[in-house]
């Protein structure tokens, strides 16, 4: 049987190298220590951090940052970071891949919903009248409104992650 030729997409790896946290994917030697401690891998076969790293090493862009990428199943527990003998920090590589997916607009729709409050109100949780009442009932001081204009100033014109590796 003819061996299938493996083509590594270095363009994608270069791109990943330039996203904060992405560079460490180069250190992975596929030992699977991350899989042994990964709770998502324990509960579903669809998520395997070693395979995600392997795909990163091969530069499989679509599988990692396309619409059906398994990266969103990561539970963000940092067990892989704790365990990795190569300092790959798999979760940070996965987060770099997520940042790239956001750029490509392939991230799950609810990610925007879950993270959009901060830029508008300075807090991630929606401030409701119910919680203001609850704070009053409990005798807590009024919640200090975050300095939203200042936040907007530091985020304005923020350099977005690079669009290609060049």
């Amino acid at each position: 049987m003819a061996k299938k030729k493996i083509v590594v997409n270095y363009r994608f790896r270069d791109k990943l190298n330039k996203v904060q946290g992405g560079k460490h994917h180069n250190y992975c030697y596929q030992c699977s220590a991350c899989v042994a401690v990964c709770p998502a891998a324990r509960f579903t076969k669809e998520f395997n951090p070693r395979i995600i790293l392997l795909k990163a090493l091969l530069g499989m862009e679509e599988e990692l940052t396309g619409n059906d990428s398994p990266i969103w199943l990561c539970t963000n527990c940092y067990s892989c970071y704790e365990r990795c003998p190569q300092d790959v920090r798999p979760i940070e590589v996965i987060i770099a891949l997520k940042n790239m997916a956001v750029e490509k607009e392939t991230a799950p729709a609810n990610l925007a919903k879950l993270s959009e409050n901060i830029a508008h109100t300075g807090v991630s949780v929606t401030i409701t009248s119910a919680v203001s009442r609850r704070r009053q009932e409990l005798g807590l001081p009024e919640f200090k409104t975050p300095p939203i204009e200042e936040l907007k100033d530091i985020l304005r014109g923020q350099k977005e992650p690079p669009k290609d590796g060049n």
């Binding site: 996203v19 904060q20 946290g21 709770p39 998502a40 509960f43 579903t44 969103w72 199943l73 990561c74 539970t75 963000n76 527990c77 940092y78 067990s79 970071y81 704790e82 920090r89 987060i95 770099a96 997520k98 940042n99 956001v102 991230a107 799950p108 609810n110 990610l111 925007a112 879950l114 993270s115 409050n117 901060i118 300075g122 807090v123 991630s124 949780v125 929606t126 401030i127 409701t128 919680v131 609850r134 704070r135 409990l138 807590l140 001081p141 919640f143 200090k144 975050p146 300095p147 939203i148 200042e150 936040l151 100033d153 530091i154 985020l155 304005r156 923020q158 350099k159 977005e160 992650p161």
Partner: protein, 294 residues
């Protein structure tokens, strides 16, 4: 000891009973909480970081810079906040070019992150800076007979090279904290399992929390004890969800450890906001009343 409380968003805006418990218990340990203006969300280490890590670092660095101006240290009560603030510090220390880039952003609002502020978690502050004797000395009614299944949660421990809180495989900080209140930590097999909240899937988080509930139920503990508001949501509201979706009802009260400390310090259950929880804590409240009688 004076410290700046970094409340974050989950505690003041979703679970204010936790803020209440901190405000009531910390002064009894000799900690003065100095509230300051100017903080925003830490920002959250899961969704916002997934969206744009550079913006995440910028906002975190701004919060650190705000605290730095005061010369006091930050104390967080939320595992998410400490995770974000400490990881931001670690990342910016590790990468001076990135730190300079972020500081360029902050300069627009006349701020600079220098890297001097110390970020602590309340339980770490108590263990390392005050000593657990301050907890023991503040106890009015020892919680003997209260069996607590600790859930550590991930972000306060891992990665340990950033967090420096405890051994991530054999942590004892929370066990020791409740032991100082007189309560009994109960071992259970899923003590270190992630609550699953950060996973963007419908079923997986429920499977994980259910595994933890089953483990706690089998342990015979009276309640679950934790320090993370995100985990709290997985377990308190989570029990209602499991009951609806899987038809299995657990009845495990979920207690924030500073609420438990409040009870040990003689506060009434409503004074630490236990009445606001979905899963009622009546079982352990009755038990505490019995302890007081005898």
């Amino acid at each position: 000891m004076k410290v700046i409380p970094f409340w974050g968003c989950m505690m003041p805006l979703k679970y204010p009973q936790m803020e209440l418990a901190i405000r009531k218990t910390m002064p009894k340990l000799g900690v003065e909480l100095v509230d300051i203006d100017g903080f925003t969300c830490c920002p959250d280490p899961i969704y916002f970081k997934a969206r744009d890590k550079i913006k995440w670092l910028t906002i975190a660095a701004r919060n650190l810079a705000v605290a730095e101006e005061t010369g006091l240290d930050i104390v967080t009560m939320c595992s998410g906040c400490i995770s974000t603030l400490r990881e931001a510090q670690y990342t910016l220390d590790e990468d001076p070019a990135l730190k300079a880039e972020i500081n360029k952003r902050l300069k627009k609002v006349n701020k600079e992150y220098k890297g001097k502020v110390k970020v602590n978690h309340a339980v770490v502050l108590i263990r390392d800076d005050l000593g657990l004797d301050v907890v023991r000395n503040s106890v009015k009614r020892s919680l003997e007979d209260i069996n607590v299944a600790i859930h550590y949660g991930c972000h306060i421990l891992k990665p340990s090279q950033i967090m420096h809180v405890d051994d991530a495989d054999y942590p004892s900080i929370l066990d020791d904290f409740i032991t100082a209140m007189g309560a009994i930590p109960i071992e259970h097999k899923e003590k270190l399992l992630c609550c699953g909240k950060g996973c963007m899937d419908e079923d997986l988080p429920l499977d994980m929390t259910e595994s933890i509930f089953a483990s706690i139920e089998a342990s015979g503990a009276d309640c679950m004890g934790l320090v993370c508001p995100t985990c709290f949501s997985s377990f308190d509201l989570g029990q209602i969800m499991i009951s609806r979706k899987k038809g299995k009802t657990y009845d495990i009260p979920v207690i924030y450890l500073f609420q438990l400390l409040g009870l040990a310090q003689g506060l009434k259950p409503e004074e630490v906001g236990l009445h606001t929880h979905r899963v009622k804590a009546d079982k352990i409240i009755e038990k505490i009343k019995e302890i007081v009688k005898t």
